[in-house]
Amino acid sequence: MRCLICHVETIPDVTWVTFWKPSVQKKICQECEEQMDKITASFCPGCHRPGHEGVCHDCEKWEKTNPGLLERNVAAFPYNEFNKELVARWKYRGDFVVLDAYKEHLQNVWLSSFFKGRQVLSVPLSSKRLDERGFNQSEAISYALEEEPFSVFERSHSEKQSKRGRKDRMQSENPFRLLHPISDPVVIVDDIYTTGRTVRHMASLLKEQGCPSVSSFTIFR
């Protein structure tokens, strides 16, 4: 078995336990796993920002301007340098299987987030971007969570969020259009929560149309 990220051969230790019951083969090597890191101990309850006690500054601001718009965000990994590089490889270069490296822990976080059972919504891509990329990252994550994503939005083509500055992003117009309303609590699945603008754009449309509660689930924060 080769590590999915660095292609180093991973050789599992043979102990008496694994001798009798072969362990599940790891997709990534120890070293890469350590560098990926996980959000574990302290984080903001609003947006899962790692290394933060209590509600973070960003969430306070959001609560002032748009109270109760987004119930909470759950994230599994911090968006550190290593992960940034991997996201670039996965999303922009198009190395689809890199997602499998996150899968195992992602599923665990998904189960412990109590979102299971809610309607899962995907973030749409404009058709031009979808052609370029070849896959929708949000749907890919949903399938990795073994959930069926619903697509109830439409998106006009706009500049990549990651190419914009913070201020520019916060003032951006809502690029989404809701196709039909939903009356159950929902969770939006996406790859990264940076400023929270994208999910709140979607949440505001959902709430206007009478959705009781909107949360979000992302890989990175």
């Binding site: 080769r2 292609h7 490889r89 270069r93 198009g94 190395d95 689809f96 299987v97 979808l130 052609d131 370029e132 990329r133 070849g134 896959f135 929708n136 890919a140």
Partner: protein, 471 residues
């Protein structure tokens, strides 16, 4: 069946179209591109396809037992993966090996650009007025005749500091006068950056382009291209003269895909020149069996012998390195060295130790900088050292080759470490005494026990010096 097996095992480039209609798109000439890398609208691309200036080729070859990516030659099964492809709605295979340069996917073709563009013939392109030594001239003549012949290959085995670049000038002149397209490829970005100004100065009227990972120029539409070997993944049957510098260096040395790409980038009828100071076993075997013609230059351009490394046993070395310190004995030698005019190049086995050592020496008021592969300011720091803005440069094996500092002493700390193989040590020793004003320099290997690699390196340097004396 036999045919398919043979095709799979050998490098087979028969899929590259043989007809190359003439055209006026230099940026497409001899290229192998993905659709989004072609900077034209769909209508123009359709026209070019109709004129077969562009030809669609299958991107991934399928065999009953595996696949081959035609861009990078990858055949390893773990470097292929499937993804649900939204554009065509199927599960498509893509290559993970060359994903850094954009995704090659089964259902999308690669576009081959005809190599029929006519490059201008330059009159008297070379403005270099230096002189070649007798040995250099002899090698240069052989290379000129190779370029004239228009096919075949030749290895130039020259010691570090023999003036390999200058040896190429007559051959380059010959090729440019005939309107041939040249590629000078090397595994290292630093070397590309260093070669560009040197060559541009000697060939001022020629359009020379440097291509590397984040080079400002990306078009690749010049008659003379200096590139890292990775950039060759975008070329096919493009060059009449293919020069590969430092054939033995990482990552070219044992990366199959780079060999595949460099072979494909040359035209079927091309002259190939390899340059090296330290041929690997495989090349040495080919030389011995007379399969690879070789030109030998055992003497530096200034005629002085190579500095022979001294091996110094330092049993306490590892204990001190673990603490991030240097043994007092070595520290004392460095203090002494600092009183001379020469700068000091300090080689360490890993990035971590190199950084520790830099801060350790900084605390002791040495003028120190460290560079390594992941350093964003690498080029600036090297430039500053060359301008003598500071005294000690601490580095890992990335600076082992291609870079020239006029007057340095070279110390290798922990020379027994696996990263320092014979080639690396010979190259490192070759950093000293490069300038005719200061043709010697101390090369010291500090170790905790001699390794075969160290002994082989010393022996090969002695052997070169012996050959050099005979001439």
């Amino acid at each position: 069946m036999f045919k398919t097996v043979k095709k799979y095992l050998q490098k087979d480039f028969s899929w590259i179209p043989h007809e190359n209609p003439t055209h006026s798109y230099p940026s497409l000439t001899g290229k192998l591109l993905l659709r989004h890398e072609i900077p034209y609208e769909d209508e123009i691309v359709d026209q070019l396809l109709a004129q077969s200036i562009l030809v669609k080729v299958t991107s991934i070859e399928s065999y009953p037992w595996g696949h081959r990516c035609r861009r990078c030659g990858n055949t390893k099964s773990y470097l292929f993966a499937k993804m649900p492809h939204a554009t065509c709605g199927q599960d498509c295979l893509y290559c993970r090996s060359c994903i850094q340069m954009g995704r090659v996917i089964e259902c999308e073709p690669l576009f081959y650009g005809s190599s029929g563009f006519e490059w201008t013939a330059h009159e008297h392109p070379c403005h270099w007025d230096g002189d070649l030594t007798i040995h250099q001239q002899k090698a240069a003549d052989e290379l000129v005749s190779l370029v004239q012949k228009g096919s075949g290959e030749k290895l130039v085995w020259a010691v570090c500091g023999a003036g390999k670049t200058e040896i190429l000038f007559p051959a380059l002149t010959e090729a440019l006068e005939k309107g041939k397209r040249i590629c000078l490829a090397t595994p290292r970005t630093d070397v590309v950056r260093e070669l560009l100004p040197r060559l541009q100065k000697s060939f001022p009227d020629v359009n020379i382009q440097a291509l590397y990972g984040d080079s400002p120029d990306k078009a690749g539409d010049a008659p003379f291209i200096i590139a890292t070997t990775h950039q060759l993944l975008r070329f096919a049957h493009a060059f009449d003269v293919m020069i590969i510098d430092e054939v033995d260096a990482f990552p070219f040395h044992n990366d199959v895909s780079l060999h595949y790409a460099s072979e494909r980038a040359a035209k079927p009828q091309a002259s190939t020149i390899y340059l090296t100071a330290t041929p690997r076993k495989k090349q040495k075997r080919r030389i011995r069996s007379k399969h690879l013609p070789v030109v030998f230059i055992p003497q530096r351009f200034h005629g002085h012998p190579l500095p022979v490394p001294q091996l110094k046993l330092t049993p306490t070395l590892h204990r001190y390195l673990q603490k991030g310190e240097l043994p007092p004995k070595i520290l004392q030698i460095i203090v002494h060295q600092q009183q001379t005019k020469r700068q000091l190049l300090l080689f360490l086995p890993s990035i971590k130790i190199a950084e520790q050592m830099a801060s350790y020496l900084k605390e002791r008021n040495f003028e120190v900088q460290s560079v390594h592969a992941e350093d964003s300011q690498r080029a600036e720091k090297i430039q500053a050292f060359r301008k003598k803005e500071y005294r000690v440069l601490i580095t890992t094996t990335i600076l082992e080759r291609g870079v020239t500092f006029p007057s340095v002493d070279v110390y290798v700390i922990d020379a027994g470490h696996v990263v320092f193989d014979e080639a690396a040590l010979v190259q490192i020793a070759g950093r000293a005494g490069r300038s005719p004003d200061d043709p010697t320099g101390d090369v010291i290997f500090y170790h905790i026990g001699k390794t075969d690699e160290m002994l082989d390196a010393v022996e090969s340097i002695r052997y070169m010096n012996k050959l050099g004396r005979k001439l």
